[in-house]
Structures are given as C-alpha cells and as structure tokens.
C-alpha cells in the first residue's frame, strides 16, 4: 500500500465515519470534517516527495492489483507530475470548503459534509486512476455528490440546475462508457490505460482511422461537456448560481479539470491522429469560448454568473493549450488548470463572503463595500488581479505559456485568444468598481463587517499560493513538464511521420521529440 492509496481512501473512510455521527452533533461533524480533510491534505503533501529533487516522467506510487477478475478490472492507480498537483489541489480545497461551509450550511449538516468528503474521494480517484473502469467509477462517484450539493443545498432554482447539470454530464458519460467498452474489446479484454496506450502506439492494438475518430469524439464530447467547451457550457452558469459556495468552489476549481485532464490524459495520447485531425475545429471552439465567455461575463448582473462565464473563458485557454500539441501549450494548460483552481476558487469564496453578509448575488445591490470592509476589498482585489493575469500572480504564467504555444504553431491563434485577456480586464474591473468603489449606499453595505479569523484562514493560503505560483513557478512546473513530454510523445511521432521537416518554432521542439522517445520508452518499461 502506497501513500497514494492512503490519500485516495482516507476521504472514503472519513465519509463513512461521518455516517456514524449522530445527526444532532453539528459542531462535532464540522470539526471532524475539518480535521480529517486537513489531515488528508497533509498526507497528500507527502506525494511531492519523489518530485522534490528530480522530475520523473514516469509513474510513481504505482499500485496495480486485480479488483474484479471477469471482466478484468484492476485497481491500478499511480501518479505523475500532472496528477500530483491536481490531487493536491483537490485535497487543499476540501478543508477550505469545509471552513467555507462552517456557518453557511445550517440544514442537513451531516449529509453536507459527508457528500463533500465523498466528492473528494471521487476527485482524487479520477486524477490517479489508470484503469478505465476504475476511472469511470471515480468519475461517477464525483458526479453524484455534486448533484446533491446543488440540488439540496442550492438556491431557489436548484432542482432545475441540478437536473441540467446531471443530464449534461450523464449524456457525456454514456458516450464515454460506450467508448471504454469498445476499447476494452479491441484491446483484448483490458481496461488498463498504460497497456492500451502502449498497444495503440506500437500498433499491437489495431485501430483504423474511422473508429479512432469515433472513439476520440466520444471521449472528447464527454470531457468537453465537463470543461465546459463552447457551446456545451450552458449548464455551468446555472449550476454555479444555484450551488452553495462550497459546491461552486469544488465545481469550478476541481471538477471542471476532470474534463481538461481527460482531454490531456486520454484523448490526445490515445488518438493522436484523430486529435490532430480535429484540432483546428477544437481550437476554433476554444477561442470562441475565450472571447464569448468574456463578453457574456461582461454583461452579467449576477456575480456568480459573471465568475461562471469567466470560467468558460479561462478554460478555453486550457483547451487551446492542449490542442496546440506543443510543450509550452501543454505546460501552460496544466498550469492554467491549477491557477484557475486557485484563483477562481478564491473568487467564488469571496463572492460567498459577500453573499453571507448581504444575502444577494446581484451586483446592483452592492456598492462602496471598500469603506466598511477594506480587508475584504484588498483580498478581492488581489484575487481579481490574479484572475485577469497580472504578472507575478499565477494566471499570467499559464496564459503566457498557452498563448506562446499557440503562437509557435499559428500566430493568428494567439492574436484571437489574447483578445480574451483584454476583455477579462473589462469585466473584472467593472465588477470591482460596482461592488467595492463608490459611497456605501444602503444600510446593508454600511454594516458589512470585515473579514473574521475563519475567513482569513480560508483566503490567505490561497492568496499566498497565487503569489507563489506566479513568482516561483519552478516549484511546480518541472514535474508537469516531464509528464507532458511523455504525453506529447505519440502526437509528435505522428507529426514526424506526416511531414519529415519539423515545424518552424523553437529548436526545442526537436530536442523534445527525442526526450519524448525516451519518455515513451520509460512508459512502456513501467509496465
């Protein structure tokens, strides 16, 4: 049993333990959830160990045990540089969400925290499962608690939003399930990701371009809904507006990354040819999403909807980065997943703080908050600046790398996508002006208390992370880069078959192709 197994199963254990708490001991449940989720976070930090001094491109913390013999389902989990940070992001945000919900959730407290921990179990599992069936189980395990978080603890239109969320995601999941089953039969009765990828690469698993395209699209649609990619995004604003703060945070910060993670981990390396064939369309959608999300965010009267549409815009950058098939694009995409998790999570939390004070999400019912609550305004300002990509804060790095990767392939892509960077400043600054500046008008704003200790404990770690991730990126990027080089292997191989001359761009691309070959070899050796 590795540390990773511990980190995966501790949330489940905590979930089960909460079930044994008496319903009435609200305070006990809260404390237990906080302690448990903090402990899980601390354990998960131990996962950085192997990545501390070197950057292995191969898997770490591998556990590969038979689970069900027929069909051959294995409990195969492992970690690479991408999963590492996504797991830590999940385990970091769970205790933060517990704190966020401390007073905010006052009905069915036990169920709420139980679901939160179950959600963590699903999320952590998704990011390290290497068996398709296992992946699918975790995927659904994460889906169910989120459905309830929205449907039970949401606002007025919660049922509509929850069902919409569920139907959208289920539609994608079904497609993915079909694709998984097809792959299972093609690959000779195995769900194993590592084996399937190796087989697809060396040709031992036959896959014509027609079925490859179909499989790619099936996976792609499932993940694209989750991202969400334009035009499959309309579930997101509704889900966010209705969800309780913790639900919004987990949804935006971690759950959306299930989609982009899936694209990166499965779609591109398994079906490089199809991915390359569709990349033009997908990038077009991503760029439309970037600009469209920003423009629609600009005219939202509701804060949460505004942040939700901004997510559509930000996640467009991630998809763009992935489908450039460049090292910079990949690195930027992964980094942007983490950045978005931290800064948009923080934005939702701060909107939640405002909501707890004034019981309104409408921008128009605020104004002049900076006078009664200066510290809240400052942290909101920093978070906003991170979100709009100010250098030395986290998002800048991700956006820069993505756009740089796009520019290396087609300069025009970066031109269009960078428009989103301008627009992000528009909608965020206007939001800030309307909420925080001006004279505090009505009674509510004037009696808006500043941050309390609990709220500091929630937001300060995230602020520190924003600065850290923007300034000392080398604490985070090397493992990501190494793993991305491995993932890029098949798609680079495909490119070299197609045209013998390497594309114009960084000379690095060529060096990297060699690294990738080594990486791909490691990958098959790991089996």
């Amino acid at each position: 049993m590795t540390l990773l197994d511990v980190v995966i199963f501790l949330p489940l254990a905590a979930f089960l333990m909460i079930l044994f708490f008496p319903k009435g001991s609200v305070e006990g449940i809260r404390r237990f959830s906080l302690i448990a989720s903090t402990a899980i976070f601390i354990f998960s930090l131990g996962l950085i160990g192997p990545y501390w001094f070197n950057t292995p491109g191969r898997w770490t913390f591998v556990t590969d045990l038979p689970w069900i013999s027929s069909p051959a389902i294995r409990y195969h989990v492992a970690l690479d540089g991408i999963s590492l940070w996504l797991v830590i992001l999940s385990t970091l945000l769970t205790p933060i969400c517990v704190l966020v919900s401390w007073r905010h959730i006052d009905k069915r407290v036990k169920e709420f925290f139980a679901f939160l921990l179950l959600l963590e179990f699903g999320l952590v599992g998704v990011f390290c499962a290497l068996d398709f069936f296992l992946f699918y189980v975790f995927w659904e395990v994460a889906l169910v608690p989120m459905y309830f978080l929205i449907g039970v603890w949401g606002h007025d239109r919660r049922i509509y939003s929850a069902v919409k969320f569920f139907l959208y995601t289920m539609a994608g999941s079904v497609l993915m399930l079909c694709a998984i089953i097809y792959l299972y039969t093609q690959a000779g009765n195995t769900f194993d990701y590592v084996r399937i990828v190796a087989g697809l690469q060396n040709g031992s698993i036959p896959l014509d371009s027609g079925p490859q395209l179909m499989l790619f699209l099936a996976f792609f649609v499932a993940f694209a809904i989750k991202v969400p990619l334009f035009p499959l995004h309309t579930w997101l604003p509704d889900a966010h507006v209705e969800a309780p703060t913790a639900g919004s945070v987990m949804l935006a910060s971690v759950m959306l990354k299930m989609g982009t993670y899936g694209l990166l981990r499965f779609c591109v390396p398994m079906f490089p040819e199809a991915a390359r064939r569709c990349s033009g369309w997908i990038i077009t959608l991503a760029i439309i999403g970037i600009i469209y999300g920003a423009l629609v965010a600009m005219v939202q009267p509701n804060m949460k909807k505004l942040v939700a549409y901004s997510s559509v815009s930000h996640l467009g950058f991630v998809v763009l980065g992935i489908f450039t098939f460049t090292q910079q694009g990949f690195d930027g995409a992964v980094y942007q997943m983490l950045n978005h998790g931290v800064s948009t999570g923080a934005l939702f939390i701060l909107v939640g703080f405002l909501y707890e004070r004034n019981h309104s999400l409408e921008i128009a019912s605020y104004g002049g908050v900076a006078t009664p609550a200066p510290n809240l305004s400052i942290v909101f300002m920093i978070t906003m600046l991170a979100s709009i990509g100010l250098p030395m804060l986290n998002n800048f790095i991700g956006e820069y790398l993505v756009l740089q990767g796009a520019a290396l392939v087609y300069f025009k892509w970066s031109v269009f996508a960078a428009i989103g960077v301008i627009l992000s400043a528009c909608y965020m600054l206007w939001l800030y002006q309307r909420v925080f500046f001006g004279r505090a008008s009505d009674e509510v704003s004037r009696h808006m208390p500043d941050l309390n200790m609990r709220e500091y404990a929630i937001i300060v770690p995230l602020i520190v992370l924003m600065v850290w991730m923007g300034t000392f990126t080398q604490s985070f990027i090397p493992p990501i880069s190494a793993s991305n080089a491995v993932l890029l292997g098949p798609i680079d191989a495909g490119r070299q078959v197609r045209n013998s001359t390497p594309p114009k761009g960084l000379r690095a691309q060529q060096n990297r192709a060699q690294q990738n070959k080594a990486g791909a070899k490691e990958l098959s050796d790991a089996r």
Partner: protein
C-alpha cells in the same frame, strides 16, 4: 552588485506600509516610504559609481522564472548606460516626489495607502528598467499599470476617479495586447527573450524593406508603447488619469511610467533599426500625437488637463526622436522632460494645495504674490519646456528637431509649430495662474518647505539639466550619424518658443479679453478643440456601446438563452420524468444515498460484464 536591492527596498516599504500602515503613525509611514526610496536611490548611486563607465552591460542572474521545453526565462537584472539614466531619473525624481507628497497628502485620508501604492510603483518601475528580458520587462510594465490604476482611483468614493482608473487599465491592456503578441513573435523567431541574445541575433539580420517579421514585431511593440506612453490612438486614458492625486500625476503620469514606452522603444533600438517602415510609423505617430495633443492643450481650463495634454505632446516628441533614429535624443528629452514636467505638476499641485483643491485656471490669477517660490520654480519649468536656452528643454528638443530635419524637413516644421503651441499653452496656464488679479474665493498660501524644497531642486535640474550630455553618454549604445549642427534650425525653433510666450503674454496679461473674443470668433474650431475632437465620444459609440449591447442582446440573451438553452430544455422536457425520479432520490437519508451509489455501481458492473466480459 546586488542589483536586486534596488527594487526590493521599495517593495519592503510597500509591504510594511500596506500591511501595518493603518495602525502606524504618520512619521513611521514616512520613514518606511521615503526611507525605502532613499535607500534605493543610494544603492543606485553606489552601484553606478562602482560600475564606472559601463562600457559593457553588467548582468546578474537570480533564478529561473519560467522553464518549458527549451524556453527559459530568467529573473535577470542588467545595467547598461541606458538603464543607468533611467535608474537615476526614476529613483531621483521619485525620491523628490515622495518627499513632496508628505506635505501634499498631509490632509488626505488613506495616507498609508497612498504611500504603499507609491512604493509599489517604484518597485515595478525599477523592475521594468532593470529587466534583462522582454517578459520581465512586461512584469514591470503591467505592474506600473496596476499602480497607475490604483492611484488614479485613489479617491475611490468618487465615480469619475474609479472610472478613469478603469479606463487607464483597459486602454493599457489594449497596448499590452500588442506587446504580448510581440513577445510571442520574438520567441518564435529568436527562441529566447533575453535582450542580449535577441539583439545580437537581430544585428546579423538584413534590414527589412517590406512588412517582414521584424517590422511586425516592432509595430506590435509600438502598439504596446502607444498604450503605455499615451500615443495616438491610445492616448485617451492619460488626460483622465489626472483624477489621481497630483504627486501621482507628476511621478507616474509625467516623469516615469508614461516614458516606459519610449524606454522600451530605445531598448529595442536594434530591432527598430532593421525595420525602417516601423521607424516611420513611430515617427509619424509621435509627430501626430505631439501636434494634436498640443492643439487640445491650447484651450483647456483645468490646470492639470493642460499639463496632461502637454505630457502627451512631449511624449510624442520623444517618439519622433526615436522614429527618426535619434534614440539618444529621445532618451535625453525623456530625462529633461522628467525634470520640468514633474516640476510643472508639483507646482500645479502646490497651487491647488494653496487654493484648497481648486484646479480651474479661471478661478486663479495673481498668485505670484501669495506663492512666490512656486511661481519662480514654475517659471523655470515653463521656460524649460518652451525650449529657451540655456534651460534643459532646449537642448533635448533641439536635438530631436535637428534629427527630424535630416529625416525629412516637413517633420521639422510641424515640430516647430508644435513647439510654438507648447510655449503658448504652458505660459497661458502660468499667466492665468500667477498674473493679473486673483479671481477665486480662497485664501492662497505658500506651501510648506517639504513641498517647496523638491520644487527648488527640480527647478535647478530644469534649468541646468541640459548640460548633462546624455547623447554623448549613450553614444556607445546608439551609434548615430553625426550631422553638422544647423544653427539656422536652432534659431527658428527658439524663435517659435519665444513667439508662443509673447502671444500668451499679449492674450492673457497685456490684453485680457482678447482670448475670449478670439474663442468666440472661431467658435466651431474652439469647440472642437475644447471637446478634444470628441475622440472619447467616438470611441464610446463605435466600440464600447456596440460591444456591451451586442454581448447582452445577441450573445447572452440570444445565443446562450435563446438558442443553446432552448435546445437543451427541449431535450430536458422529454426527460422530465427522469427528473421526477431524481427528486425521489433526494430523501435526505444518507444511507439511501450510499445505497444508490452502490446500486448504480453494481448496475454498471453488470452491464460491463454482459457486454464485454464473457468473451
């Protein structure tokens, strides 16, 4: 040489004042704010003395900032002769303005907030000039923009201030859009962002005749510079930026930040020299901006607005200099302008302070009796900007105009006309302020020494700064063709300045009332100028309104709600039955939830087993 200490002092000042300033006394805040900048200035002096003649660039590498594939971007600082000039200007003028602010801000709320922003600005500005690669320069570039935004909106209770702040940030973002695209292209073509490597590689490239890669890069850099340095068509934010406290206008919106575009252009001189078309664009945009902003400045009644348009206009001169190949003259003018324009703003601040916040020239007059030091120092600044020898502005402006004449005479002539207008509007403002009878209702008083002392120092620099031979100092960096000085040109430009001053004297001192009647007789033109050519209104109607309205009606209500959601809800309606089942699930009983999860998993397992298992 520990170059990193130079920006780190103000950063520490920012953190101390920002985190604890609310609970600290004013002397403590002053100590951290001014002390940190003073230390920074001292360290600059020590460093430059230690580095001596700086025949080669001095570089320090600290750590890798970003590494992805073969793209490596370091946090590297460097000092060469250009940076040395900038460091002296930024820390020197910055220190003076910090000291001045003690007096100016003494009655204002948010004292600690003001100084922490100002310190943060110094940090980013110093990063900007010390950076040894384009992306690190961009850190400073965006950072100073942020501080500008914060300080313009310093009086955040007032809507006009925060709106002006937003405008500055967003217009700058449009410029930064160009800059970042230039960065992408530089990486694409040079595989690096390091200044030395990029420029060495560029030196070996042929001079482009058409719109080649280098030209595109330079034009994109120009877009960035136009945003930051308020050039056509992105100058609109700077006049509005005067909503900030006056020391901010002096430091950020006159002396240092707005010159960042000029600095960046000079820094990239090697690229520009290989892209003559881009050079032409720089020159033409600079000249057009200089001229148009000067015409607007002729008729403004707000003392800060006059100087703001003057800044836009003078920045245009600097770009003209860069565009005609006289980079060192552009940087020279950058320095002298920092002296006299900071002085003009600080002096204006002193006047405003004396009049308890009055900024309208029509409410001033006769102040030379009440504020003698401010009067004398402002006159120095006026003579300097008018280009009268031997004051500082004369030398630098003359260099630019001479170079423009060599490039093409018509540029010179427009420059001369602009110089005449410059002299006119500055002296118009000064005459309206200090001569005649006092027209307002306040009790004017001279400012405290903490404010007048910086004025005096800047007055000395405005008077004598021209004798610091910047072009010679920068000669190794910008090798220039030596042109024989044409004395005739010099006399003409000086004469233009004199004519401007005399006209202003006639219209506003000797025969007051003449100006009003002239304004009436040229009603249409006067209105056009007074309303700044209606550029803001045009931008609003052509860009902002359609964007906002289109997003609301077409994209949000149309595409999102009307189209996509309608389709989804159509599907959803059919599956309402499913929704009803889900509602049953929501029993609130955790055991039943868990049961559902388990049951679902079992169903899935069975399904898999039937489909794929038995084989």
């Amino acid at each position: 040489m520990y170059l990193w200490l130079i920006p780190i002092f103000p950063l520490i000042g920012f953190l101390l004042n920002g985190l604890f300033g609310r609970r600290m006394s004013k002397p403590m805040i002053n100590l951290f704010a001014i002390g940190s900048v003073a230390l920074s200035f001292a360290w600059v002096v020590k460093t430059l003395l230690g580095l001596g003649s700086l025949d080669t660039k001095y570089v320090e590498h600290y750590f890798t900032w970003i590494q992805s594939g073969a793209l490596e971007i370091g946090v590297d600082f460097a000092v060469d002769r250009l940076t040395a000039v900038m460091l002296m200007v930024v820390t020197g003028v910055g220190l003076l303005i910090h000291i001045y602010s003690i007096g100016y801000m003494s009655h204002e709320g948010g004292y600690y907030r003001f100084f922490s922003y100002l310190n943060l600005f110094m940090f980013f500005m110093l990063v900007l000039v010390l950076a040894q690669n384009f992306l690190l320069l961009f850190v400073g570039w965006e950072g100073v923009g942020l501080c500008s935004y914060l300080l313009i909106g310093f009086y955040f209770l007032e809507r006009y201030a925060t709106t002006a702040g937003n405008k500055a940030f967003i217009v700058n973002r449009i410029g930064d859009f160009g800059f970042s695209l230039a960065v992408f292209l530089i990486v694409k073509n040079f595989n690096t962002l390091d200044f030395t490597k990029v420029f060495d590689a560029a030196k070996g490239m042929p001079t482009e005749q058409g719109y080649g890669t280098l030209t595109i890069i330079c034009l994109l850099l120009l877009v960035g510079a136009a945003g930051k340095s308020a050039q056509i068509p992105l100058y609109v934010w700077l006049p509005d930026a005067m909503a900030g406290p006056t020391p901010v206008s002096a430091l950020i919106h006159a002396a240092t930040m707005v010159t960042a575009g000029v600095y960046m252009t000079a820094r990239s001189a090697t690229l520009f020299m290989h892209a003559p078309i881009a050079m032409d664009w720089v020159a033409v945009i600079g000249l057009a901006t200089a001229f148009l902003a000067a015409t607007i400045g002729l008729v403004q009644n707000d003392i800060k607005k006059v100087f703001a348009y003057s800044t836009v206009s003078q920045l245009g001169y600097m770009f003209l200099g860069a565009g005609v190949g006289a980079f060192s003259a552009g940087v020279f003018h950058l320095m002298t302008h920092a002296f006299f324009k900071a002085l003009l703003f600080l002096g204006a601040g002193s006047v405003i302070h004396a009049l308890s916040g009055e900024q309208d020239l029509r409410q001033m007059g006769g102040l030379r009796k009440y504020t003698p030091i401010t009067f004398v120092t402002l006159m120095c600044a006026g003579i300097a900007i008018a280009g009268i020898p031997p004051f500082a502005g004369f030398f630098s402006k003359d260099e630019i105009l001479a170079a423009a004449y060599v490039r093409s005479p018509w540029m010179y002539w427009i420059g001369v006309v602009t110089a005449a207008m410059t002299a006119f509007y500055v002296f118009r403002a000064l005459f309206m302020t200090f001569f005649g009878e006092y027209r307002g209702h306040q009790h004017p008083h001279e400012s405290p020494y903490v404010m007048t002392l910086p004025l005096a120092v800047l007055a000395l620099l405005s008077a004598g700064g021209g004798f610091i031979n910047i072009p010679k100092w920068l000669d190794p960096i910008f090798p220039e063709k030596v042109e024989p000085a044409n004395e005739m040109l010099m006399y003409i430009s000086v004469a233009a300045g004199v004519v401007g001053i005399v006209l202003a004297y006639i219209m506003y001192v000797a025969r007051p009332g003449l100006a009003d009647s002239m304004a009436k007789s040229a009603g249409g033109l006067y209105n056009l100028l007074y309303n700044k050519y209606f550029v803001d209104e045009v931008y609003d109607a052509a860009v902002v309104e359609p964007l906002v309205k289109g997003s609301r009606t077409v994209l949000w209500k149309g595409v999102d709600t009307g189209l996509i959601d309608a389709i989804v809800n159509g599907v959803g309606a059919r599956s309402r039955g499913i929704g009803r089942i889900f509602r049953l699930l929501q029993s609130g009983n955790i055991r039943s939830y868990a049961a559902w999860v388990v049951l679902g998993s079992i169903v899935l397992l069975l399904a898999i087993g039937f489909v794929g298992g038995p084989r």
